[in-house]
Every structure is written in structure tokens, then in C-alpha cells.
């Protein structure tokens, strides 16, 4: 039994989704972005697990929940290396990498204090202007935001 199967097995889920290779310490951000706090299904997660590829990683397993690409791609902001594994009947049926979306809606707060979105109740919108660097541009104030200035709403 290889390491991955073993890991999945320990807390195996019958049907659902495993989000693997989340950068360590970003697990809670992913949980928040996917709104898993309000999910009624079983959610298992681990953080700072040993990973051959990344040193330390996080993992989340959600029973009976399957994500649409739009929804899952939101996590690219905090977990660009994440892999999505779809499980049916304890078997891996699909494995995909997250993709950086063209637009980020709602989950990010504009870092510009003078931006109108920080003063009225407005759903934020950002264009991803550089997918490799994860650089965003606010649809409203038109300011560019570097990865390390991204603030989650």
C-alpha cells in the first residue's frame, strides 16, 4: 500500500472530495473560502503533515460533497498547488489540479483603504492579471494587488 492510499485509508471517505497538497497553515483559509464551516457533511482535515513534494502540507476530506470547477478554483489564491481528488465507493475516480480563475469574486477585500468597496456594501471583484504571480486588479479602484497584499474578506 503506497503512502497516499494509506493516508486516504486512515480516514477514508466513501464518497466525496479530498483536497490534497494544500500549503501548510492554509487549511483554515481553504475551509473558509469553501464555506465548509456551514457544511452538514463530515469534514476531516489535517495540517502540517509530512509531504515528499512540499515538506509540510495540509489536507481536507469532505464527505458527499463535490465541487464545481468555479467553486474550487477560488482556493487557488491560497492553495495554488492543491490537488482535487474525487472519491466514489472508496475509489479515486478523478484527480485534478486547481486552476487559477480569471476573476475572483467576493472572497478578497481590496487593500486600498480609499476603495469604494471598503465603504459601501459591495461584492468585490478582482481580475487575475498575472496567474503565475497571482497578481489581482480591483474592478472598482483599478489598483493592482500583489500576492502578499491579498486580504481575505
Amino acid at each position: 500500500m503506497d503512502k497516499e492510499t494509506r493516508e486516504l485509508k486512515v480516514t477514508a471517505i466513501e464518497n466525496g472530495t479530498v483536497i490534497d497538497h494544500i500549503p501548510a497553515n492554509n487549511v483554515f483559509k481553504v475551509i473558509r473560502i469553501l464555506n465548509l464551516e456551514n457544511n452538514n457533511h463530515q469534514v476531516l482535515f489535517g495540517d502540517n503533515l509530512d509531504s515528499e513534494k512540499y515538506g509540510k502540507k495540509g489536507i481536507i476530506k469532505v464527505s458527499n460533497t463535490f465541487f464545481a470547477p468555479d467553486e474550487i478554483n477560488k482556493i487557488a489564491l491560497v492553495a495554488p498547488t492543491a490537488t482535487l481528488i474525487v472519491i466514489r465507493n472508496f475509489k479515486v475516480v478523478e484527480k485534478t489540479k486547481v486552476e487559477v480563475p480569471d476573476e475572483i469574486i467576493k472572497i478578497v477585500k481590496c487593500f486600498n483603504p480609499g476603495c469604494i468597496t471598503n465603504h459601501e456594501n459591495i461584492t468585490t471583484r478582482f481580475k487575475v492579471i498575472d496567474k503565475a504571480e497571482m497578481k489581482l486588479k480591483c474592478h472598482y479602484c483599478e489598483k493592482s494587488i500583489a500576492r502578499n497584499n491579498i486580504i481575505f474578506a
Binding site: 480609499g114 476603495c115 469604494i116 465603504h119 474592478h139 472598482y140 479602484c141 483599478e142 493592482s144
Partner: protein, 304 residues
């Protein structure tokens, strides 16, 4: 190409052809300013922060077109001060007026307004972000003085870091194969984002710290004000405050077609002895703002 009903929030909202069409229409208004094309229209002029110059220019444009103007010149005396959201103000006003001209201290306010308004919105300045009609009147003035927008040497002088008119004009002139000569103190250099626009357009720019260096070859010298509050170190300001002042004596040896522009108001960066030279064009530039705004109002309201 139809600009009817289309808001103007950011200079990138209009294509190059759309700009050129507006400039052409503006020339018609300069030749014949009083055309009652909008006598059945109401223009709302909403200035959430005061800007006398811009407001008078827009209101003059609306009046020359025969439109009626409603609005306020300072939100201090309105329901906004009582805590009304921008959204509610805009929804209400858009049910009264046919078009909204607005100035607001927050960046992105005009974009947001255009999304909740049922009528088109013209951005007359949203914080440090955009002021597209200023950019269009700058283009109009450059075209008028040089008879072309193509292949010009444009010198931009002063606060190139915070001056939004500078950023917009650089971006717009990238469509016309310009060469940029950027004159500023170290602390107020053009931001790298704007330099990227120039690079992306495969155009050239050079940076200078001496104003005198660019005078011999510039077609346009675009002056801006250097504000003390932009400097982290007041000593730096004291060092540079008098080194970006254009005087009549400095103009000797300039190109015969060279014109000096300035978005106004000026403080001391253009000495008054320049006003009577044939290079001075900043007051005419301000006048041009009325024709360009007439063109925008008439075009967006479908009368041109």
C-alpha cells in the same frame, strides 16, 4: 460603433476609434458651441467633493447644449452627509436625470455608480483613480496644436508618481507611437505599472531630473504641480520645489511647434512670464474641456 448610452468611467472603456470620434465631434462644437441638441434632457452634476473647475466646465457644456442641470457642488449640504449610501443617491438621481456626471473622493465610486444607475455615468474624477474627460481634453489639445497625435515627443514634468492625469495621458498616448520624456525628482518617478504600458506598446521612454534637458526636442511639455505632502522627507521637497519651474528664459531654443500644457490649477511651476509666449497653451486647454464635454454629453445621449 455606438457610444450612445455608454458610461465613461475609465479611459480604457473607450477604444481608440471612439476617442477619435469624440475629438472630431468636439471640433464641431468648438466651431459652433451653441447647439440646443439636449433641450429635452436633464444632466445631473453630482460633486461629492468640490472641484470648481471641472464642475463649471461640465455645466457650461450642458448649458451650451440647452440641457437643464440639477445636482450639488459639495456633498456637505446633502443627504449624503446624513449617511445615505452612494448606491441610494445614484438610484434616486438616475430616476430624475438622463445622465449623471459625478466626482467622488473614493476610488471606484464611479464604476460602482454606473452599475447601480439606470442612466449612463460620466466619471469626473474618482479619488486618485481616473479622470477620463481630462485625458480626452488633453488629447484634443495635443491634436489641435500638433495637427496629429502620431509620433510625438511628449515631455511629462513634475509629480509623475501620483498625478493621475499623467498616468492616463501616458496610457492614451501609447496608442499613437509617442516617445516619452519623463522629468521628475527621484521620489516622484512614474510608477512601474505605467512604465509597463509603455513597454507593452513597444515604445520608448527616458527619465530625467533636469527640466532644461528636454526643452530642445519636446513637441509637448506637460507640466504638473509638485505637492509638499507627497514627500516623506520635507527636506527633499525643499531641495526640488524650485527645480521644476518653467520660465520664459528657458524656452529659448525650443521647437517652433512646442506647446506647454498643464491640467491646472498651477501654483508656481509655470512662471507668469510664460503666459504671454506662443508656447503657453494651458488656458486654451481648459477652454477645450468644454467642447470635449459637449461632445461626450451629446454622443452618450444620442444627439450626435
Amino acid at each position: 460603433m455606438t457610444m450612445k448610452g455608454k458610461s465613461l468611467i475609465s479611459i480604457t472603456d473607450y477604444t481608440k476609434d471612439e476617442y477619435l470620434k469624440i475629438l472630431e465631434t468636439a471640433a464641431g462644437f468648438e466651431a459652433n458651441p451653441n447647439q440646443k441638441l439636449l433641450s429635452d434632457k436633464v444632466v445631473a452634476s453630482l460633486f461629492f467633493e468640490p472641484s470648481t473647475r471641472t464642475r463649471l466646465s461640465f455645466e457650461t457644456a450642458a448649458n451650451r447644449l440647452g440641457a437643464r442641470v440639477i445636482g450639488f457642488s459639495d456633498s456637505g449640504s446633502t443627504s449624503v452627509q446624513k449617511g445615505e449610501t452612494l448606491k441610494d443617491t445614484i438610484i434616486m438621481v438616475s430616476s430624475y436625470a438622463d445622465i449623471i456626471v459625478m466626482r467622488h473622493p473614493r476610488e471606484g465610486a464611479a464604476r460602482w455608480a454606473s452599475e447601480v444607475s439606470s442612466v449612463p455615468v460620466i466619471n469626473a474624477g474618482d479619488g486618485a483613480n481616473q479622470h477620463p474627460t481630462q485625458c480626452m481634453l488633453d488629447l484634443y489639445t495635443i491634436l489641435q496644436t500638433q495637427r496629429t497625435l502620431n509620433n510625438l515627443n511628449i515631455a511629462m514634468v513634475g509629480d509623475l508618481k501620483y498625478g493621475r492625469t499623467v498616468h492616463s495621458l501616458v496610457q492614451a498616448m501609447c496608442n499613437f507611437n509617442a516617445t516619452f520624456h519623463l522629468v521628475s525628482p527621484q521620489e516622484l518617478k512614474l510608477p512601474s505599472v505605467t512604465k509597463m504600458h509603455i513597454k507593452d506598446a513597444n515604445l520608448k521612454y527616458e527619465q530625467y531630473t533636469e527640466l532644461a534637458d528636454v526643452i530642445p526636442f519636446a513637441d509637448i511639455i506637460y507640466m504638473t504641480r509638485i505637492q509638499k505632502e507627497r514627500f516623506s522627507d520635507p527636506i527633499e521637497y525643499e531641495k526640488v520645489k524650485n527645480s521644476y519651474v518653467l520660465t520664459k528664459a528657458m524656452l529659448e531654443g525650443c521647437k517652433p511647434n512646442m506647446k506647454i500644457l498643464h491640467p491646472l490649477p498651477r501654483v508656481n511651476e509655470i512662471s507668469e512670464d510664460v503666459d504671454t509666449t506662443k508656447q503657453a497653451y494651458y488656458f486654451k486647454q481648459a477652454e477645450n474641456g468644454v467642447y470635449v464635454r459637449q461632445a461626450l454629453l451629446a454622443t452618450i445621449l444620442g444627439a450626435k
